[in-house]
Symmetry: C2
Subunit: 341 residues, 2 copies
C-alpha cells in the first residue's frame, strides 16, 4: 500500500505538502506541486478511504435496516435509496438483525428504519449509540406513536381510499380485503382503518366475513414475512367462504400475486370472476397476467427521500419531522369494469 509518506519521500517534500497538493489547499510551490503529482502518479497512489473516514469522522455510508429482499417493496425502496445515495457520493449498506446493538459496530453515518414498528422498537431498545441520526419510513403518520424520529411517510389510508375509489368507479361495491395481519392489529395501520371505515356501511355486521386476515401467526416485525404464500391462503379462504364480493383489495403486491396465483390454480378467472387490486405499485405487477392493478406508493421516491432527509440531518443538522410522498394508482388488467356489462 502506497501512502502519502511514500509520495512525500519520492518527491522530496513533506507529507503536509503532499496533502496540500492532493487537496488543492494552501500554498505550495509550482515545481513541488508537479513533483508531488508525478510521484503520486508513478507510485499509483490512492488515498486510504478508512483513514479519510477516521479523520473526517464520516463514513459516507448509510444503513438500511432491512434484510428481506423477498418483498419487492423492499427492493424498490432500496433501489430508490441506492440511486439517490450514489448521486451524492454515499453508499447504502443493507442489514437487519434481531440485535440493534450490532448497529454500533457498523461504519455508518445514519440509519434508515423500514417502518414504524421497527422505529418504535429502536426507540425503546436501541438508541444506545448517541448521535447516530435515524429516519424511518412510515405508512400513515397518524399512527406514529412518537416523534423523536423523522418519518418519511406514505399514507396508506389514502392508498386504500384510492383503491376503493377506483373500484367504485369501475362499478364494484362489494369489496373484500386480504391482509396477513389481524384486522385490528395496529401493524395493519391505515389500510385496515380506511377499509373498515368505507366498507362498514356497505356490509354492516357481515363485514368481518369479507375480511381475509390473520395469516401471520405470532406476527413479529423482524420475521421474514412470506406475503405471497399467505396470499394463496387468502384466495383459498375467499372461495371457501363463498363470498359474493366482486373485488378484493390486497395488503400489498406480494400478497396480491399470491392470491392471483392461487385463483388461477383453482381455475377462478381474474378479473372475470373476481377483480384484484394490490397496494405498492411494485414493478413486479407488470410480470404477471393479468398485469396487476395497484396503488402506486412512489416507493423508490420514498427510498430516495429517506436518504435525502437523513443526509440533511447528517450534513446540515436540519431535522424535519415528517415528509410525504404522493399516492397514485397504476392500472393493470386485474380489475374488470362492471359498467361495461
Amino acid at each position: 500500500m502506497v501512502t502519502r509518506k511514500d509520495v512525500a519521500d519520492r518527491a522530496h517534500v513533506s507529507v503536509t505538502a503532499v496533502s496540500r497538493v492532493l487537496n488543492n489547499s494552501g500554498y505550495v510551490a509550482k515545481e513541488k506541486k508537479e513533483a508531488v503529482l508525478k510521484a503520486a502518479e508513478d507510485l499509483g497512489y490512492r488515498p486510504n478511504p478508512i483513514a479519510m473516514s477516521l479523520r473526517r469522522q464520516r463514513t459516507g455510508q448509510i444503513l438500511f435496516y432491512c434484510r428481506d429482499l423477498g418483498n419487492f417493496f423492499n427492493i424498490e425502496l432500496y433501489s430508490g435509496m441506492m440511486e439517490y445515495a450514489r448521486r451524492v457520493g454515499y453508499m447504502i449498506v443493507m442489514s437487519g438483525t434481531f440485535d440493534f446493538e450490532q448497529i454500533n459496530t457498523m461504519m455508518i453515518d445514519g440509519v434508515i428504519l423500514p417502518n414504524q414498528e421497527i422505529a418504535n422498537r429502536y426507540e425503546k431498545l436501541g438508541k444506545q449509540r448517541s448521535g447516530l441520526p435515524v429516519v424511518a419510513a412510515s405508512y400513515g403518520v397518524a399512527l406514529v406513536s412518537q416523534r423523536d424520529i423523522p418519518y418519511i411517510d406514505c399514507d396508506v389510508y389514502v392508498a386504500m381510499e384510492n383503491a376503493l375509489d377506483y373500484l367504485n368507479r369501475k362499478g364494484h361495491e362489494r369489496i373484500a380485503f386480504a391482509t396477513p395481519y389481524t384486522i385490528f392489529d395496529p401493524v395493519g395501520g391505515g389500510r385496515h382503518i380506511a377499509y373498515l371505515n368505507r366498507m362498514r356501511p356497505i356490509f354492516g355486521k357481515d363485514l368481518e366475513k369479507y375480511i381475509l386476515d390473520g395469516y401471520f401467526k405470532g406476527g413479529d416485525a423482524f420475521q421474514q414475512e412470506d406475503f405471497f404464500t399467505e396470499g394463496k391462503h387468502a384466495a383459498s379462504d375467499f372461495i371457501r367462504r363463498g363470498l359474493d364480493a366482486t373485488a378484493i383489495v390486497c395488503f400489498n403486491d406480494n400478497l396480491a400475486l399470491g392470491m392471483l396465483k392461487q385463483f388461477q390454480d383453482m381455475g377462478v378467472c381474474v378479473p372475470e370472476a373476481v377483480s384484484i387490486v394490490g397496494i405498492d405499485g411494485t414493478n413486479i405487477r407488470r410480470y404477471v397476467t393479468p398485469a396487476l392493478t395497484s396503488v402506486d406508493l412512489s416507493t423508490s421516491r420514498q427510498g430516495a427521500e429517506c436518504v435525502r432527509v437523513l443526509l440533511d440531518m447528517i450534513e446540515g443538522g436540519h431535522v424535519r419531522s415528517v415528509t410525504s410522498v404522493p399516492i397514485g394508482l397504476i392500472e393493470g388488467e386485474s380489475v374488470r369494469d362492471l359498467k361495461l356489462k
Copy 2:
C-alpha cells in the same frame, strides 16, 4: 462520542488498560478491570468502528459490483452473499459504476464481480489499487479468457443441456432459443454454444430461424438490461415467424417471463400451444401462471461461494482458481408433456 480515553479518565487508569479489559487480553488487576467495565457502562461507551478498521487494516466490507436489481438473478446472488457474509461478520455493499476508479474510494476488503465480461474489463482497466482481492462469478469456465481472478463458476453449458434434456424427455424435439444477445456474441457464452451443438443436427440449415436473438443493441455489460421487455419482443417474433417449435428455452428467467407475458397477451396458451423453459431458477418463477419451469443454477449458493472464496483470500491468503456450483432443474407448469398426448 465517548472514547477509550474518557473511560480511562473515569476509571483512573490508562487507555491501554481499558483496551486490555475490553479486549480480554493481557493482565489487568481485578479491581481495575471492574472499574473500567463500570466506567464503560456508565458512559455508554461504544468502540469506534472506523478507528478499529484503520488499526487492523480491515473494513469487514465486501463490494458486490452490481447495480441492477431489476434482474431477479442479481437479487438472488446478493441474498446469498448477504446471508453468508452476515454469519461471518461481514457486510456486503452493492454498487456498480462505469468507473472502476471509484472502487478505490470505497471502504472494502475485496470485490465480487458479477460476470466474466466485467472481470475482463476490470483486468484491463481497473486493477489500479494493488492488493485488493477480487473474485468473479462466471458462467462457463471454458469461456474465461484469463485466470488472474478466481472464478465461482456456474456452467450454463450444462444448464442448457439440462433444459434440452428435460424437454426431450417430455417429447419435445423442435426447440427454439431466445436470447437478447446475438447468437455468436461470446457474451452469450455456454448457453449459446450448447444450444447450437444440440440443435444443429435437428434443424440443419434452418437452425437460425429458430434462434430469436440480438435484441440488445450495442450491448454493453454495464448497461441496465431489460430482459423482460426483450422477452416480449422475442415472443412476438416467434409468432411472426410462424415457427413450428413446440418449446422455447430462454436465456434467463426474466426473459422467459417477458415471453410468457407476451404470449398470454396475444392469446397464445402456455404450455398448451408452446412450452417455455427459463434458466436461473429464480424465486420469481413461482409467482406466475403457469409457474415457470427453469434450470436451477444454485444462484444464492453461488453468491455465498463468492463470499467464501473471497474471504479465503482476504483472511487466509489462499487462492483457488475455480469453484463450481451444481446445476439442477425445477419443474413448473410451463412445459407440456407431449408424451401424454
